[in-house]
């Protein structure tokens, strides 16, 4: 009977899409696990390890991520046009990936990782398996949060290395002492400028009342926190003498 036949077909189709989803999910889990490792590596900055070393380690996962996204793309090739059907299964993982890549990019260049650059880093071919723009934007919002924590922890807190305790109150970031990279020393001002610019850029968007808008609202709190740190530093004249050199350093580099 045709009714039974149709439902039989459906059952098979749904079974197929179910097992496809299983495969997607397993890749997603691997992506998540890779981002955990990346996150762990990046947390080492909090322990004052030199940035290049830290980045080196974290970058090690990027090749793996590339591979995993190419796997995803391959799976999606089996069901063309259904990217957004399964989108939910890699969504939040991808947002985390974006936030980490953007954070690393900022550490390296001081600039925002753009959407196209993120796709490139992940080896994505936008014509077949691109990076959803909203996922990208949400990832950027997450990054702003990481940035604040980074600023707070790196700059003034370093509980594990007690041997240098005395120097800590000089309020220079731990790693500055070991290795002066241009652009590293007036961190609060840089972060503040970056987040302010980002905030201005985000305000160009017309958002719906959705998750992205909520995260964007959250970014405002991050911005506030960074301002507080900036003025804490400024007010105590700590940044002042740094600033003069800082600006200089920046000029040199740019």
């Amino acid at each position: 009977q045709s009714l039974e036949k149709q439902f039989d077909e459906f059952r098979h189709q749904l079974q197929d899409s179910g097992s496809l989803r299983e495969r997607i999910r397993s890749v997603s889990l691997e992506i998540e696990s890779a981002t955990r490792l990346m996150q762990s590596s990046l947390l080492l900055i909090h322990q004052s390890r030199p940035i290049p070393e830290v980045l080196e380690k974290a970058k090690g996962q990027i090749d793996l991520l590339k591979e995993l996204y190419s796997k995803l793309a391959e799976i999606m090739r089996e069901c063309p046009g259904q990217y957004y059907r399964y989108h939910g299964d890699w969504r939040s993982e991808t947002q985390t990936v974006v936030s980490l890549l953007a954070f690393m990019h900022w550490l390296e260049t001081g600039n925002l990782l753009l959407h196209a650059e993120a796709e490139e880093k992940l080896g994505l071919n936008p014509s077949e398996f691109g990076l959803d723009i909203e996922d990208y934007l949400i990832g950027i919002c997450f990054m702003s949060n990481d940035l604040v924590r980074y600023l707070l922890v790196i700059y003034y807190i370093c509980p594990v290395c007690e041997e240098n305790e005395n120097e800590l109150h000089t309020l220079q970031p731990r790693y500055v002492v070991n290795q002066v990279t241009a652009g590293d020393y007036d961190c609060p001002r840089k972060v503040l400028k970056f987040l302010t610019d980002l905030h201005v850029a985000f305000r160009m968007l017309n958002l719906r009342n959705d998750f992205l808008r909520k995260k964007f609202d959250g970014m405002k709190y991050d911005l506030r926190r960074v301002e507080e740190v900036y003025y804490d530093v400024k007010i105590r004249g700590l940044a002042a003498n740094v600033d003069s050199t800082g600006e200089q350093g920046e000029r040199e580099q740019s």
Binding site: S2, L3, E4, Q6, F7, F10, R11, Q13, L14, Q15, S17, G18, R21, G81, Q82, Y83, Y84, R85, H87, N111, L112, L114, H115, A116, I133, E134, Y136, L137, D197, L198, V200, A201, F202, R203, M204, L205, N206, L207, R208
Partner: protein
């Protein structure tokens, strides 16, 4: 569409340029979503009218009523479903699904209801999708209704079939009512196997509960007609009026 926010406009600002692009993308997407929602509402409203038309069926006007229903249904397709199809052709079937799924489900409900009344069989998804093809620009990938929306529409269909069965029993068409009963039960049985495999089964789960209620209502009605009807058989003797037992009599 460029925004004149602050500072001089002369210096190149990659972040700003990029965000202009993102803004344009989001604006376009939202506009398209909005157009789809509106088209979907029109599909819903007019499909509901078709369903009401089908409920106007009676023992004597079946062909007439169904003919009009089918004509109206065709109009829904041409005038409103076509707008959905136009918006979606080529892509975004899944991305914007939430914007158009209510309309498509209601259309499925109307189309399958019409078809069942006419042929007693289930209108297949392939047949519906075939009828969508002419509405698309042949150069791009045509929009096709997906299995999930079809099944969700089918789940709602059973509610309408329940109402239809009540009407048919009143009209003396017991056989028709019992056909509906078997049909609904068959759909229910098939869906119990399929429902848990669906992408997001929570919607379907609640619809299955409602469906079971509908099935039970039809079963209860058929049972009581049957029990009552059986009593009369000895009085009436042979099988002449056995199925016109109920419904408005032909006396007048």
């Amino acid at each position: 569409r460029t925004l004149t926010t602050n500072s001089a406009a002369s210096d190149p600002n990659p972040m700003k340029d990029a965000f202009s692009k993102y803004a344009a993308y989001l604006n376009d997407l939202n506009d398209k979503r909005e157009r789809l929602v509106k088209a979907s509402r029109d599909v819903t409203m007019n499909s509901k009218k078709v369903i009401f038309q089908v409920h106007r069926i009676s023992k004597h006007n079946k062909d007439e009523v169904l003919e009009k229903a089918e004509k109206d249904l065709a109009a829904v397709m041409e005038q409103h479903m076509s707008r959905v199809v136009k918006e979606l052709q080529g892509t975004d079937f899944w991305k914007l699904r939430r914007a158009y799924t209510p309309g498509v489900q209601e259309y499925i409900e109307a189309a399958t209801l019409c078809n069942f009344c006419k042929t007693g069989a289930l209108l297949n998804l392939d047949e519906i999708n075939a009828s969508l093809l002419p509405l698309s620009d042949p150069s791009v990938e045509p929009m096709q209704i997906n299995v999930l929306d079809y099944l969700l529409g089918l789940a709602d269909l059973t509610g309408e079939l329940m109402r239809l069965a009540m009407g048919r029993i009143s009209d003396g068409e017991l056989e028709f009512a019992q056909k509906i009963c078997s049909f609904v039960r068959e759909i229910y049985r098939e869906l119990t196997l399929i429902a848990p495999k669906m992408d997001d089964s929570s919607d379907m789960k609640s619809k299955m509960d409602v469906m079971l209620q509908s099935v039970k209502k039809i079963e209860n009605a058929c049972f009581s007609v049957h029990v009552r009807g059986s009593e009369y058989v000895p009085f009436l003797g042979s099988d002449d009026t056995s199925f016109s037992l109920l419904g408005m009599p032909e006396i007048e």
